[in-house]
Point group: none
Chain length 253, copies 2
DNA sequence: TCAATATTTCGATTCCTTTCGTTTTGATCT
DNA sequence: AGATCAAAACGAAAGGAATCGAAATATTGA
C-alpha cells in the first residue's frame, strides 16, 4: 500500500469515528507506529486533523450555535433575496405570524420600519430581534422549547395567542416532497406549522431551492393551502413547470 | 478515549450547560478525578474555562449586552449566593415555574443536574440557557414580549401552559414596599407575577437586600403568600425583625 | 545509485492512577 | 451569629504504562 493511500484511509477512519489511535492504525496497516506518527504529522501540517498524544482527532466539530450559523450561511444569497421579497409583504396595521427558521430570521431582520404591527412567533431568536423595534408589538407563542431551532412547539394555537387571527403568516419549510406537501422531521413540528397556518388569512411560504423534492417523515400542510410562495430559480426544471400549474402565486427572486 | 478528545468533550459539556462537576466528568469518562482536575487545569490555563471548587464553569459571555448588564449589576455577589441557595431547592421529578430577572437567570445557570424536571418560564434568556440540558423539559410561557426583561407578559396563566400546576414557583421582585407587598413598575408585570404565583403550590421569592422598603406603582402579591424567602443580610435592621415575625420561612445567605 | 519510505532502538515525555495530608464546603447545633 | 463537624474536593508526590522524538539503519523502487 502506498503511503498516500494509507493517509487517505486514516482520514476516512477519522471522519467515521472522530478519532484514531496510533497503535490501532499501525496494527491495521501493518506498519510501525513511527510511520503512523509521521503520517499524522504530515496530515496535521495540512490542517486535515489534529495530532494528539496517542493518535489524532478530527477537526473541532461545530457547536450548536456554529451549526445554526452554518445553516444560515448555506444558500445565504438566495435566502437573503427571498427574505427581502418576503419582508416587503409586511405593511402597517397588520398582524403577522412568524414560523421559526434561518430564512425567517432573515425576514425579520430585513423588515422595513412599520407602525402598529403585531408579530406573533414561535422563534425566540426572531422575538429577540424584533422586540426593540418601535411600531412593533411582539408576542411569543408559548410551548415546549425545541432546542435545535430555538423555538417553541405549539400544542394548541387557539390557547396560545388568545384566538388571534393574523393577516399573514410566514412559514418556512424543512423540505417539500414530491406530492407538494411541506414536510418536516417530526410530527411535533409539523403540527406546529399546521397551527400557524390556521392562524392567518394569508399564508406565505419562503423556501430556497434546496428544499424541493426531498422527503421527510411528517406532513405539515399542502402547498395548495399556501397563497404565495417565494423561492429562487435553482430548483429542478420538472418541479418548476409543475409548480406553475398548481394555481398558487409563485415569485422567483 | 484520547486525552485531547476528552478535553474537547468537557468543553462541549460546558458550552451546553455552563458548568461541569469533577465527579460527574470522572464517572462519565471512566477516569480518575485527578485526571479530570488536571484536564480542567490545562483548559483553565488556556483561558477556555474557569476552574472552580468542584468542577469548572464556562467563561462569562462576552457579548457587549451581557457585559453591560453585568457591569450594571449591583449586588452581584449576593445575587449569586442567593441563586445558589435557590437552585438547591430543585430536585428530580418536579415541575417548576421561573419568573424573569437577573437573579433567576443566575438560579437557572446554577441549577444542578436533574432528571425529569419540567421548567416553565416567561424569560427567554432562561429558556435558552436551560433548553440544552438533559433531564429538563423547558416550556416557554407565551405572551407579549417585554423588552427590558426579555420576557413575556402573561394575560391568562391558565391558558398559557394548559393548566399546569407546578410544585414550586421561583419569583423575583422589582421591589418590596413598606407593607411587605411585592410591587413592580407596571400592572402588566404585576399581573404576570400574580399569575405565576397562582400556578404553584410552593412559592419561593429571591430578593437581594437592595429591594427592600422601596415603593412602586403596582402591587403583584403579598409576602404572606410566599412560602420561602431567600435573601442576604444587607437590609435595614427594622425590616429584618419585622420579616422574622411574619411567619414566612426566610433564609439569609 | 539516489531518494523516498519504513524500521529499530533508546532515553525522554506524557498520561493516568493511587495514596495521603490539607482545604473547602455545607449542615447542624448552640 | 458564630462554632463545630463530617463529607467532599483538593494539591502534591510517586510510580508504572504507554507514547513520543531523534537518530541510526534497513528496505524499496525508479
Amino acid at each position: 500500500m502506498l503511503a498516500e493511500q494509507r493517509r487517505h484511509q486514516i482520514m476516512l477512519e477519522l471522519q467515521r469515528t472522530g478519532q484514531a489511535r496510533t497503535t490501532q492504525l499501525a496494527e491495521n496497516f501493518g506498519v510501525s507506529e513511527v510511520t503512523i506518527r509521521s503520517d499524522l504529522e504530515i496530515l496535521d501540517a495540512k490542517k486535515l486533523l489534529i495530532k494528539t498524544h496517542g493518535g489524532a482527532i478530527a477537526l473541532p466539530a461545530s457547536s450548536p450555535a456554529a451549526a445554526f450559523e452554518e445553516r444560515m450561511n448555506r444558500n445565504f444569497d438566495a435566502k437573503r433575496r427571498i427574505a427581502q421579497m418576503a419582508a416587503r409583504q409586511i405593511i402597517d396595521n397588520q398582524s403577522i405570524v412568524f414560523d421559526s427558521g434561518s430564512t425567517l430570521l432573515q425576514v425579520a431582520m430585513q423588515m422595513p420600519p412599520v407602525s402598529n404591527v403585531v408579530v406573533a412567533t414561535t422563534a425566540m431568536n426572531i422575538a429577540q430581534h424584533l422586540m426593540y423595534r418601535p411600531g412593533l408589538d411582539v408576542h411569543m407563542i408559548g410551548g415546549r422549547v425545541f432546542p435545535s431551532t430555538v423555538s417553541t412547539i405549539v400544542s394548541d394555537s387557539d390557547k396560545a395567542v388568545g384566538g388571534l387571527v393574523a393577516h399573514q403568516a410566514f412559514l418556512s419549510a424543512h423540505a417539500i416532497d414530491h406530492a407538494f406537501d411541506v414536510v418536516d422531521v417530526s410530527e411535533d413540528i409539523a403540527r406546529t406549522k399546521r397551527n400557524l397556518v390556521r392562524m392567518a388569512r394569508r399564508v406565505i411560504l419562503v423556501a430556497d431551492s434546496s428544499k424541493w423534492d426531498i422527503g421527510a417523515s411528517s406532513k405539515a400542510f399542502s402547498l395548495s393551502r399556501v397563497d404565495l410562495i417565494i423561492t429562487d430559480t435553482g430548483m429542478p426544471h420538472g418541479i418548476r413547470s409543475r409548480l406553475d400549474k398548481l394555481g398558487v402565486e409563485v415569485r422567483y427572486v
